[in-house]
């Protein structure tokens, strides 16, 4: 106990990798909980296959969880791990390439059987052929150690005992980095304690055995300490993007005074929002699991017509199906919130992997002139604020609004400084209650400022009216084919959305000395790696400015000015240059792209290289 020397580190990146059935996500999230309580800053990146259980031991079945924790403010889950825990040969094979030379590699030696080696495509064991010599290799028989530790636990099958090896690994890692295991013990007891107390006991014992193994083994000479990060005072919790987005929707409902209605169809990686909100019935939240994506959006529009905050959540392959409903909501001029948790496309693409490939679709993927405001979240916890902002715009301007997240934000997590509810914005809106033109009610008579039309909900006497997808006559909303009217209405709808630019913050630029020549412009979920890259470039003595867009439609009113202030503009994106195309077209700026569509977050180091190359050009 405490006999081994303690070495101080400022940050560590750990990756757990194993078979889909090995419990790597659970291991990672428990390590996160333990770490959060120590006050480190954290950023996590789960990385798992779409298949629920791919064949055991196979390369496609590998599931990973990367955790970056530090004694200072960090922005990303990290480019490459310092420590890789590989539970089998397949996990080693698919992940070891990311481990830098000298990195710590912990493997379950028991899992390196001939059969598993063969499944992973190894002709001979990498533990024996010297191919891992450049790493600090710890080949530990995790399975047999776990089995041995659980011999005294009754009522647990040998297979169940072996399955606790992830907890042994977690115990070992907890010891190595001085994490408290009590939160995990509490978790295991509450998860299994009631139904299968012997399973809880087995897992707890495995966890403790792993911890004790670290203390006694000669394999590890030192243990590490990472001091708490200096973070703003307040109460924190760890949160994923999908959770934060769900909380944001509930908050928007409270702040607007409107009941929340969610129409959704299960789809990766957005399903967790439906599941989360289904648990919030005590907030008056109605969740409707529809027969398809179209019905999910349609029901949300129907609820909005009735005066609810109508929301539909999906990912790209579902969002394409909602296009006609969004077009209808544009014509009806009713509030509707459409959440697109982007994943790699096209078509089914890579369901669990992030991409920013849907930007042009949400902006333009509809028939006719059909402008829609677009808001994008920049980090897991930011999904909360972004959801409130998207709802604010939808309600105030009576328009469908897109809220963009992505698979990384959805599943990734970070500490969240909990906001004071009293300080959240008031986004209340008013229904029409009386005629607005003498004793007549004109459903398309607009507000002078916002150009929004009145929202008269069924049940309001005297305001009965009919709306629909056919072109509306100005003011009356009657069906109209008049050429001038269509021209006017098309322009009014465009002006209404464009006018939102005066109601959103200006684009902020982070340019510490104010004399950088290169501006890096990003949007959405790439904020972390871009900001980390800019820090790195500045540490290296070069100057760079950073700006990050939350609003993609309309753009902040000063966007053109900002872009033109810099000699060179770099636009890193997880697509082939969608924002790039927009800024070039809209502002005639000769911006450069940095584009990767690998289904993983941008790497800060690579973005930094691209920035430096442009600075030095």
């Amino acid at each position: 106990m405490g006999t081994k020397p303690v070495e101080q580190l400022s940050q560590v990146i750990v990756r757990f990798a194993g078979d889909s059935g090995d419990g790597m996500q659970l291991t990672g999230s428990q390590f996160t909980s333990e770490t959060a309580l120590l006050g480190n800053d954290i950023s996590t990146l789960p990385d798992f296959p779409a298949e629920i259980r791919a064949p055991a031991g196979s390369l496609p079945g590998v599931s990973g969880f990367q955790l970056h924790f530090a004694d200072h403010d960090i922005l990303t889950p990290g480019d490459a791990p310092n420590v890789l825990v590989a539970m089998n040969p397949a996990a080693l094979k698919t992940n070891v390439g990311d481990l830098p030379k000298g990195g710590t590699l912990i493997v379950d030696a028991d899992a390196f059987s001939d059969r598993n080696l063969q499944k992973a495509g190894y002709a001979q064991s990498p533990l024996e052929d010297g191919s891992l010599d450049e790493y600090q290799l710890h080949a530990i028989p995790l399975t047999s150690l776990t089995r041995g530790a659980l011999e005294s636990v009754e009522g647990v099958t040998p297979r169940e005992a072996e399955r606790s090896k992830n907890m042994f690994a977690l115990g070992l890692m907890s010891w190595l980095y001085g994490r408290p295991v009590q939160p995990t013990i509490d978790f295991l007891e509450s998860k299994f304690g009631a139904k299968r107390p012997e399973i809880a006991e087995a897992n707890v014992k495995a966890l403790q055995a792993g911890y004790a193994f670290g203390e006694t083994t000669e394999s590890f000479a030192v243990t590490y300490e990472i001091k708490p990060a200096k973070m703003a005072p307040g109460t924190y919790r760890n949160i994923t993007g999908n959770q934060a987005l769900s909380y944001g929707l509930v908050a928007a409902s409270k702040l607007s005074g409107l009941p929340l209605f969610l129409g959704a169809y299960p789809i990766t990686p957005a399903s967790a929002i439906l599941e989360e909100l289904a648990g919030f019935k005590s907030f008056g939240v109605r969740t409707f699991q529809a027969e398809d994506e179209i019905a999910a959006a349609g029901a949300a529009v129907g609820a909005a017509f009735g005066g609810a905050l109508g929301v539909t959540t999906s990912a790209g392959p579902g969002v394409v199906l909602k296009a006609e409903t969004i077009g209808l909501a544009i014509m009806l001029e009713l509030p509707l919130l459409v959440v697109d948790v982007q994943r790699a496309g096209p078509s089914t693409g890579m369901p669990t992997k992030p991409e920013q490939g849907d930007l042009l679709m949400v902006l333009f993927g509809r028939n006719g002139e059909s402008p829609v405001p677009v808001v994008a979240a920049r980090s897991p916890s930011d999904c909360f604020d972004a959801a409130i902002e998207a709802a604010r715009i939808a309600l105030k301007y009576r328009t469908p609004v897109y809220l963009l997240s992505d698979a990384y934000l959805a599943n990734g997590s970070e500490p969240w400084l909990l906001p004071d509810v009293a300080g959240l914005p008031d986004i209340s809106t008013e229904f029409a209650t009386a005629p607005n033109a003498g004793d007549e009610f004109l459903p398309y008579l607009r507000d002078d400022q916002t150009l929004a039309r009145p929202w008269a909900v069924p049940g309001t006497p005297g305001l009965e009216h009919r709306i629909g997808g056919l072109e509306k006559a100005d003011r009356t909303g009657n069906v109209a084919y008049d050429p001038d009217n269509h021209d006017l209405m098309t322009r009014l709808r465009a002006q209404k959305v464009a006018g939102i630019a005066s109601d959103i913050p200006e684009l902020e630029v982070d340019d510490p000395d104010g004399d950088a020549e290169v501006l890096v412009l990003g949007w959405g979920g790439t904020y972390g790696p871009i900001a980390a890259a800019c820090k790195r470039v500045r540490r290296g003595g070069r100057k760079v400015a950073q700006a990050h867009l939350r609003h993609l439609s309309p753009f902040p009113r000063n966007t053109g000015d900002v872009l033109r202030r810099y000699e060179k503009v770099l636009v890193p994106e997880m697509n082939l240059g969608q924002l790039l195309q927009l800024v070039r077209a809209q502002y005639l700026v000769d911006a450069h792209g940095y584009n990767r569509v690998r289904g993983v977050p941008l790497r800060a180091a690579e973005v930094a290289d691209a920035i430096e190359a442009l600075v030095d050009q």
């Binding site: 760890n238 005590s282 008056g284 349609g298 129907g302 009735g306 069924p458 006497p461 009919r466």
Partner: protein
């Protein structure tokens, strides 16, 4: 507020109150005129205020209907009206929500939404105006057109076996299924009345003549003044028809229905409340072509929990168990830690 929006305060309204200032733009002779007139005459009887009545439609000739009803209304997108109505009815149980649709709208592009609204038993009344043709797109065959139908898109005859809308609805677990004829105001009003009184989804097929693209499709029942072809289904009454009521229906051992004489044994007595759907389904298979008569009226009217009531109950239960949701508590749920 009582079920289906009845509260009695609207009783003083007349048909005129339900007309709008919009010019009705269906073709001369279209069956939709008669349905609109019947609906406008019928609405005051319901005693629901105009402001608590909502008509939602999709696309097609029938879908213009909401523009002519002086209530709240939405002319939405092709086939999606049941989905949109589901969102409205589910979040606003105080409203009386009606869907007006056609055979193409409901059974082709919107087939999925129709069957799911029916199985969920959402509190919406779905009126399907069946003219067995696409009218607004100028005369292509529809999912209810007979096999071999020659239209502009099927010059050598259609190859599709048609849907029987009532069989489909019953198969989709509908709790109320009825049929009416556009020109039969009394019969239609009776079915609409029963549909309005029904708790949950009601599905009503209305035979509607398209004089332009499919004229006379239903002449055998529309012009059937003597009642030789209409089989009127009356709950608790023997199912008979014909000039002197000489024909009757009875069930074969295999469950299907055959024609017999009214005086013969085992003549079916109509029971619309029978929970088990086999008889209603067998009745839906009785057609002019196969049985020499066409049943009209209420085929099925059973009680089952209503979707929006169930949902409202869950919200109430959640509040009763945990108290009304508190946002601060929600944000602070799970493990938290304090800095500074």
């Amino acid at each position: 507020m009582s079920e289906n929006g009845h509260d009695g305060h609207g009783a003083a309204l007349t048909a005129k109150d339900f007309r709008t200032d919009q010019e009705v733009r269906w073709c001369p002779g279209c069956g939709d005129y008669a349905i609109l007139a019947a609906m406008q005459s019928f609405m005051p009887e319901l005693g629901i205020e105009r402001e608590r009545t909502v008509f939602i439609s999709g696309i097609g000739c029938a879908a213009r209907f909401p523009y002519y009803m002086n209530t709240y209304g939405m002319h939405s997108i092709h086939g999606r009206a049941p989905a949109i109505a589901t969102g409205l009815a589910t979040s606003r149980p105080d409203l009386s929500v009606w869907v007006v649709t056609g055979d193409g709208d409901a059974l082709s592009i919107g087939g999925n939404h129709l069957i799911h609204a029916l199985r969920r038993n959402v509190n919406v009344k779905i009126l399907l105006f069946n003219n067995r043709i696409y009218g607004l797109t100028k005369g292509q065959y529809s999912p209810t057109s007979e096999l071999g139908k020659v239209t502009k898109s099927t010059p050598m005859g259609s190859l599709d076996w048609p849907f029987n809308p009532l069989s489909l609805a019953i198969g989709a677990e509908a709790t109320f299924v009825g049929r009416a004829i556009d020109t039969d105001k009394a019969g239609m009003t009776a079915v609409l009345r029963a549909a309005a009184a029904h708790k949950g989804s009601a599905f009503v097929e209305i035979f509607q003549n398209c004089p332009i693209f499919n004229d006379d499709a239903f002449d055998y029942v529309r012009d059937d003044k003597e009642g030789v072809n209409r089989i009127r289904l009356e709950h608790g009454e023997p199912i008979t028809w014909g000039k002197d009521g000489e024909n009757a229906l009875r069930q074969r051992r295999n469950g299907s229905i055959e024609v017999c004489g009214a005086g013969e044994e085992n003549v079916l007595t109509h029971d619309e409340t029978r929970d088990e759907p086999t008889l209603a389904f067998a009745l839906s298979r009785v057609t002019q072509a196969t049985h020499g008569g066409t049943p009209v009226g209420v085929f099925r009217d059973i009680e089952r929990p209503v979707y929006d009531e169930l949902m409202a109950e869950q919200l109430e239960t959640a509040v009763a168990k945990r108290g009304a949701g508190d946002l601060t508590e929600l944000l602070h749920s799970g493990e938290t830690w304090v800095v500074g």
